[in-house]
Symmetry: C2
Subunit: 240 residues, 2 copies
DNA sequence: AATTGACCAGTTTTGCATTTTTGGTCATAT
DNA sequence: ATATGACCAAAAATGCAAAACTGGTCAATT
């Protein structure tokens, strides 16, 4: 009973994995600005030129690393939701999300768009987050969930999106901050937040687990389609 | 049945109020760095020299403005808690806090230590927040509440402080972000957070309202004592 | 006694030339 | 095919002097 792979994980060669791992280590320690391509090559134990056999540029490497982390996170998250009988409920979705964050530390960086780590990369006008229109996606997400009956329809999607943002931020912060020894109280806090989200956002009649799963499935499919289209458009633009 | 004034509001002359108001307006619009003393004088309709008849320096003005806002906020907050039969319960304390934030917009700036508004002021090594040791105070606060039985004693005060921080941040964000027309859903969200705080942090036996009020009263008294001591020490240092 | 605004010293900003670093390439080697 | 690292152009960091700004003062004024 394995979780279905709605978003295929990126095809990664042994070499690319090596480079990704080295980059992730250095990124965590020194951040984007202070991590040079030469550093990455040295950390990975290969030559600088070798990196350019696999990646078009430093930014291409960074972005594919972020995408790699996101896809891994998504697949694991959805797997956890599928395995959980109540996984489609909003509160539980967040609970499962938190469980999976630990396995992909870069996810916290992505979610928080961490300035300390991403540095000047965030200032580039065509950066990953601008290109993927993080803001717009969120509204769509909420609107779809409302249309499907998983979120009360009398709430302004903007407000709901903001609340989800805030809660995500808080959970990521907790996941980063609270040491493992403190798990029991953390767990209680997380459950509290999850409960709150469930009560505040779910319609009275309650959204059943299947609805949540269906929406998530659809969302991922759309996201993948958009993503591929954007990548192709990007590639096409670079050729001209 | 008026609320007792545990922290006396600052003694402010007509002129100082005029300057405070002008400063607050400009601070909100342009922030600390781009608000010059000349600007403030112009906005207040007085001369630059007149400002120095009331304040030792620009920073003295800013700090006394922040203190003014905090004292006003504290007095109003405590008043709201006193007037509320359940005001001593942690969740309700937060609810009451939120109600009062609207009346003192600068409070949001203070709570978030807003870099966009406070700018370089925050970088000064002897800034308001460093001087008043915001971090230390918070731990004391939690420890006192735990000692008094208002917060479960099996939780690490550091974790609890962090959670309260996060919740405060979230509530302030909501208060700042959500437009007035959206009050109904906002209200529900706030109640959700308040409930969560109550459930997660209050001991099973429950802290009664009086306990909360007593702790708050004590805290304010201590804060005032510390504050005056710090101010005197500061003044003494500047004479030498 | 209260207020003003020209004035000043110290700081910040700007413009620019020089040096250093870094992303990316490619002739050469394996 | 795959990989290397010396090499280069572009970008970033550094140093510095001139110009502009700003916090704070104080002799003159009301």
């Amino acid at each position: 009973m394995t979780a279905p792979n709605l978003l295929a994980t990126q095809n990664i060669s042994e070499r690319e994995k090596l480079i990704f791992d080295a980059t992730e280590r250095l990124l965590g320690k020194f951040g984007y600005d202070k991590t040079t391509v030469a550093d990455i090559a040295k950390e990975a134990g290969i030559s600088k030129g070798a990196i350019y056999l696999h990646f078009k540029s430093k930014d291409d490497l960074i972005e594919r690393l972020l995408i790699h982390a996101m896809l891994g996170f998504s697949a694991n998250w959805f797997g956890a939701i599928e395995a959980d009988p109540q996984g489609g409920l909003i509160g539980n979705m967040y609970l499962n999300m938190l469980k999976v964050i630990d396995q992909t530390p870069l996810m916290a960086v992505i979610m928080r768009q961490d300035g300390a780590i991403l540095g000047n990369y965030l200032k580039k006008k065509d950066n990953f987050f601008v290109k993927n229109q993080r803001q717009g996606m969120r509204h769509e997400f909420v609107a779809m969930m409302q249309a499907a009956g998983a979120i009360r329809q009398d709430l302004d999607p903007k407000v709901v999106a903001h609340i989800m943002d805030m809660i995500s931020f808080g959970m990521v912060t907790i996941a980063e901050f609270v040491p493992t020894e403190q798990i029991p109280p953390t767990d209680e806090v997380i459950k509290g937040i999850a409960d709150f989200m469930h009560r505040a956002l779910t319609p009275e009649q309650g959204a059943d687990s299947e609805t949540g799963k269906r929406i998530l499935r659809q969302l991922y499919a759309e996201a993948q389609k958009d993503f591929l289209a954007a990548q192709q458009a990007d590639a096409a633009q670079k050729e001209s």
